[in-house]
Symmetry: C2
Subunit: 331 residues, 2 copies
């Protein structure tokens, strides 16, 4: 029995391809004093990982060359020398792109796989769900009757943003790429409308979907979509910004022309990441778990099989090829 | 005896010139029931007036063609049929670009010309001072030891921002055009440093002036200066934005490239205008008046003589030709 790991083999300049990763075998780690070993069942793939691959200042430490790629996983404790984590416990860890990881427990939380499905702890009841909850509630401050627009609306974060906005009594409008995603967002997630940014004429489509203007724009993508939204926001609108996936390969496409809107409409734009608000994870997760359990917060997953397919799945994610939360199933 | 008024004669497309204004004579107005007549001593000229000249959606109603140009003034009540305002009272009004105005008292406040000079109620103890106070305190939330940068630093708003920041224990760094303004900002207003944006190499100059990065950028100008500042802001920095003078003639120059900084540094940008926060005027004005009285808040004025020179002075203001608060003396 061996562990398999995916290392960051090279830093991309522009688009990511499989040559930037390397699959290696190693011994399954053993737990030292106070440690435990987790066998991962699901690996999470998330857009933020693209930033970790660059040798640039960002909000978190970059991934190191020839180290295991960073990331979250859910799995089962298979060996333990730590009193708080027992063999058989299910946990969410940050063990990265590998099948077995060792931990001293820091940043690891136990999860209840009977209450909601294990994989949900990487999505709607995990970092993406908490991102949606914090961005909407803490920075967006929605009021009933307001219009909330979210980009990447069928994704792990966006799908939660719109459903949480609906629960607050808001009009929820998604932006997504292609008819299939837009249909899903409206028909299955219950958004009021969804704009297909690939269909052209984004400006007119936003005007039609948001007859009372936009009060909150939850931005996951940046660039041309943000610029278009700025033409439609209302006075005192809020823009929680937690992703810029349109510019991860080429930041120049993030340039914004409609800056005048920030003053004219007295916009509050707030860049944030979910780990800035650790105090809010507990209430957010409690609410999200209950909503998933009750069927009020739906989500969709795209699941790649086997660690060896993680790079290809990640590259697809960066191009929007996934539909909902992108996972890699390891068992 | 006649009243003289300056009307908006035409809307500019691009730069303002004197053909956009028209000086006319009219009868001095009489006070109707509940009204009073003010003879203006000083007319205020402010960058926001450029926005009023356009036929575009903005945060306040546009000026109407062939109406008196909008604006604030200070002067003396010379006739009154209003119990609250008596002949001889000094007041700040919004009577616009004219020598005599009539009012029912709405939006008019009495001022004490013995306590601080009358003209200060249009600058440090008026709208510009309150703009500085609200933007810095309410949106900037300065903490001692932080670095506060402000553009248009020798102007009516900017000069107050830096001095208020110093009183909060911050490092105050100005951005201004030319050596004379920069010297004034440092030597007379007491800023720690001032960057001359006309000297070239803004990026290096900001790095030198802000060795610990920028925590608050109070933006009066937008455009290339904001873009440069975004390279130097710290995590969790705040950008109160209340002016975009660099783009008032041509909004395309307001485009911003460094959007990635908003996410990486989790910036809170907030567009605001001073009239959004009427509840804060009273405490702000009380503090500003005391500081001016005590010599702790200094200001400089550029004073044009006579209403007929208001258009030329305003055109100069838009080009940065003024030094400190731009006024027109009418008596």
């Amino acid at each position: 029995m061996k562990n398999r790991q995916i290392l960051l083999a090279a830093r991309p300049s522009g688009a990511v391809d499989e040559s930037h990763f390397k699959l290696v075998e190693s011994d399954i780690p053993r737990a030292g004093d106070g440690e435990f070993v987790v066998r991962a069942h699901y690996l999470s793939l998330d857009p933020y990982m693209r930033g970790r691959m660059d040798d640039a200042k960002s909000y978190a430490a970059k991934a190191e060359l020839n180290d295991v790629m960073v990331g979250a996983a859910v799995g089962e404790v298979i060996e333990s020398r730590n009193d708080k984590f027992r063999v058989g416990d299910f946990v969410q860890t940050r063990s990265g792109w590998q099948e077995y990881g060792v931990s001293d427990g820091s940043g690891v939380r136990k999860v209840d796989a009977n209450h909601v499905p294990l994989s949900a702890y990487l999505g709607a009841v995990g970092m993406p769900g908490v991102t949606a909850w914090i961005g909407l509630n803490e920075h967006g401050k929605p009021k009933a009757g307001e219009t909330v627009v979210v980009s990447a609306a069928s994704g792990a974060v966006g799908s939660a943003v719109g459903q949480l906005a609906k629960l607050k009594g808001c009009r929820a409008v998604g932006i997504a790429g292609g008819k299939a995603k837009c249909d899903y967002v409206v028909n299955e997630l219950g958004f009021d409308a969804c704009v297909d940014y690939k269909a052209g004429n984004l400006d007119a489509a936003l005007a039609t979907a948001c007859p009372k203007g936009i009060d909150i724009y939850f931005d996951n993508v940046g660039g041309a979509i943000l610029d278009a939204v700025l033409n439609h926001v209302n006075a005192f609108s809020r823009i929680p910004l937690c992703g810029q996936i349109s510019g991860y390969n080429d930041p120049s496409v993030l340039a914004i022309k409609n800056m005048r809107s920030f003053l004219v409409n007295r916009i509050a734009l707030r860049g944030f990441i979910v780990s800035d608000h650790m105090d809010l994870w507990r209430p957010a997760l409690a609410e999200l778990a209950q909503l998933v359990h009750d069927g009020k917060l739906k989500y969709r997953e795209t699941i790649a099989q086997g660690l060896e397919n993680a790079p290809k799945a990640f590259i697809g994610l960066l191009k929007g090829a996934n539909f909902g939360k992108q996972l890699v199933k390891l068992i």
